[in-house]
Amino acid sequence: MRRGSVHALCGENGAGKSTLMKILYGMQKPDEGTITLDGHEVTLHTPGDAIARGIGMVHQHFMLADNLTVLENTVLGAEKLHGISGGARAKIREISDAYGLNIRPDVLVEDLGVADRQRVEILKVLYRGARTLILDEPTAVLVPQEVDALFDNLRELKSEGLTVIFISHKLGEVLSVADDITVIRRGTTVASVEPAATTPKQLAELMVGSELPSPETRDSTVTDQPMLEVDGLHLTATDSDGVVRTVLDGVGLTIHKGEVLGVAGVEGNGQAELVEAIMGTRAPDHGTVTLDGTDISRTTTRRRREGGIGYIPEDRHRHGLLLEAPLWENRILGHVTERPNSKGKLLDIPGARKDTARIVDAYDVRTPGIEVTAASLSGGNQQKLIVGREMSHHPKLLIAAHPTRGVDVGAQAQIWEQIREARREGLAVLLISADLDELIGLSDTLRVMYRGRLVADADPAVITPEELGSAMTGAASGHLTADGDTGTGRPASGGAAATGGDQE
């Protein structure tokens, strides 16, 4: 890695990117091999060592205290450097100006947007004197405009002689910002390439050793039979300061059999609450949820699941798995009342184990066996297990929240294919994703969520990620079209799909 460059690291999930970065940041010890920094061989035992040697890491999930100001967050743990008030403030201004970060030190972090928070994270690292920055999937949570701004920041850092290590799944971004690219696969470096001499397709092929998958749904399978109808959903929540906020405001949508409805939106605009309201883990103030003609607004989560809702949760570690339980117990989770997991009131352990083996096989979950804990699988394989589990119960409606987040390209293609296949058989899908390509490619209908409302809808056939991105920031609303199209495209394709549905 050269000083003063942006070096991108790509690879499938489970390829070893995160492990490599953890070693560089001193969080994990290598079995063998050396790290050489500025010509000196170094051994890093703790993140403290790494920081002392000028290596800083910006984690994928922000590590900020919401109720503190930017200044307070920055000095937290580094009080000795420049004090905690005047000196620190001056230093923050200096760094902010030098790299064009545009940071206001006295704003509360909770009032900042995602992109601003990320800049605070970068500032924190620079404040501690880092000369080498590791960014772990920094664009996962950003809309395209924010990604461009981030890349401008990175170029600024680079021109000041800092080194940036950039980890990403998104190949287009890697090619646009990186000076060098290293591709790793299953723990070894498979290629070092220069962005000028490669294309996203070649890069992806290096990563998986296979063709680049695309999320495009070929022909529409939308029918005119509604599967899920949500009407007038309204939810208020009291936040930690006791302020009552409206989280969902008159949300209504209909998903037909065989339709994938994508919800775009910057995270925290009510998508998670919408999912919780449909799953029944959170009771809305008013509004109804109807599944396949049955009003399920007042039923329990278990009844809803038994009634045919499959759920791929946003945070699989928190909501989708029992990490320290073996795979076969995880296969039971969420479907304990259904076969083959139980007979009557008793568990059917042999049945569950046998079916786990089947899922592992059919969904290509890479594991040495069904006795290992869920925590020992890589993210992609955990997700494949969850998808397999949910699909095994033939859901009527699948709620897929960020189904391919943190999942490698190979598993991504597989998950997309499974969603498409189930959709052909009449499954309705509520897709929530931050990956705009995924949303556009997989959805039959797109809605944009902003501050708890569905503010805009769009036709995935004609919309571009940039247009969608600007609607996500609240800049546009209503029916989004490329250029003032009145939206006759949707009913037409819906009609075509209805005939398709009849044929099945």
């Binding site: 296979s210 278990r302 699941r305 568990l347 040495p368 066996g369 804990t373 294919e417």
Partner: protein
């Protein structure tokens, strides 16, 4: 590719089982060794010879009267540990077993002294009353937690002292108690309420040991073989995941508190129905807290807790002997504390080590499988999606 992935699967399964056994043995072994070393240091620090002390304890423990005493003492310990473990399995800390079993035993004794039913009916009635009272008392904590969000740790501790006051109020001459020398106690239970016992020598063993075994078996069956048990363990492992899977966490909190309290209700029964036949001011107290230590010691496992209860009773018995031999009485308490700490720490270390080991092994095996597969068909796509 399929053969390439299947081969390591068989190996992995075998080595995983072997590893599981080694890890399962490693934890208790580590704990015992550490506990002996630390206890010996404590003896040495107090200027005593540890080996002579161990010799006295082993010797005294093998007399038959000691053994009967140990078993009889272990029965309530075990029931108490079960009650605590039901809570532990879903991350609830029921510190109130103590108050629950005392109030339950008092209620059963009071009813038993006033009612005479033929034969087994009397015993069944008293056991049911005890379980109900225990369940109601812990259920209060469960309801407060789900409706008002009060931590069960706080409420159960407070309910302990409320239980003590309630008993103190009714255990007065002229209320529900009779005066007997210096002691106050409820009226004696009729002959029909006496539980059977095993005619061992020199003293009988409580027949209630059978109930304890049955309770342990039920505990195991309920938790690991039923849907309800799976839900309960899911809540314990991850509340948000359980909630998303369709478990009503609140309902589960109330139910498991009720179950825990019902089990706690049994704790006083071996003494009441097998030995004292009345509830008096000298009724054994503090077993609820011992149960916490034994549940920790036995890792909430029905057999582990049985072992823990016997060990605890053994230390109680043989420790009293040490006093006669010139040792400080408190030393046994220190040893018991050291054992619990060693067990908790050793299991946690082994658990973490096991998880890390497994993660690494899974990674290695998959990489090996991938290499073989890659060599077999280099030009074919590895993901056939």
């Amino acid at each position: 590719m399929s053969t390439a992935t299947k081969l390591p699967t068989g190996d992995a399964a075998r080595s995983a089982t072997r590893e599981k056994v080694i890890l399962a043995v490693a934890a208790p072994l580590l704990a015992i060794v550490a506990a002996i070393v630390i206890s010996s240091l404590v003896f040495l620090a107090s200027g005593e010879n540890p080996f002579r002390a161990y010799g006295i304890m082993a010797d005294y423990g093998h007399y038959s009267d000691s053994q009967v005493w140990i078993i009889n003492k272990a029965v309530p310990y075990y029931l108490s540990a079960l009650a605590v473990a039901i809570g532990f399995r879903m991350n609830l800390f029921n510190i109130g077993v103590d108050g629950q079993y005392r109030l339950a035993a008092f209620a059963a004794a009071a009813v038993g002294g006033a009612v005479v039913l033929p034969g087994a009916l009397q015993i069944i009635l008293l056991i049911v009353i005890a379980m109900l009272v225990g369940a109601v008392w812990s259920g209060i904590a469960g309801l407060l937690k789900t409706t008002r969000g009060v931590s069960e740790v706080i409420t159960t501790i407070m309910l302990n002292s409320i239980a003590a006051s309630v008993i103190g109020y009714f255990l007065q001459d002229g209320r529900l108690a009779v005066k007997d020398g210096n002691l106050l106690h409820t009226k004696f239970l009729p002959e029909a309420a006496h539980f059977f016992s095993f005619p061992t020598h020199p003293k009988p063993v409580y027949g209630f040991v059978v109930i304890a075994v049955v309770a342990g078996a039920l505990y195991w069956f309920l938790l690991s073989r039923t849907r309800f048990g799976f839900d309960l363990r899911a809540v314990g492992a991850s509340e948000p995941a359980a909630e998303a899977s369709g478990v009503s966490v609140k309902r589960m909190v109330v139910i498991s508190m009720l179950l825990s309290g019902a089990a706690a209700g049994l704790v006083g029964m071996p003494t009441l129905l097998g030995e004292s036949f009345q509830y008096g001011t000298d009724f054994p107290a503090g077993i609820g807290f011992t149960g916490i230590a034994i549940a920790l010691l036995g890792r909430n496992h029905p057999l582990g807790m049985a072992f823990g209860a016997l060990l605890w009773a053994f230390l109680d018995r043989t420790g009293s002997r040490l006093e006669f031999e010139g040792y400080a009485q408190e030393i046994v308490g220190v040893i018991q504390g050291v054992i619990v700490l060693c067990v908790v720490i050793a299991y946690e270390i082994v658990r973490r080590y096991g998880l890390r080991l497994q993660q690494r092994k899974v990674g290695e095996e998959l990489a090996a499988a991938a290499r073989t597969a890659g060599a077999d068909n280099n030009d074919k796509p590895e993901v056939s999606a």
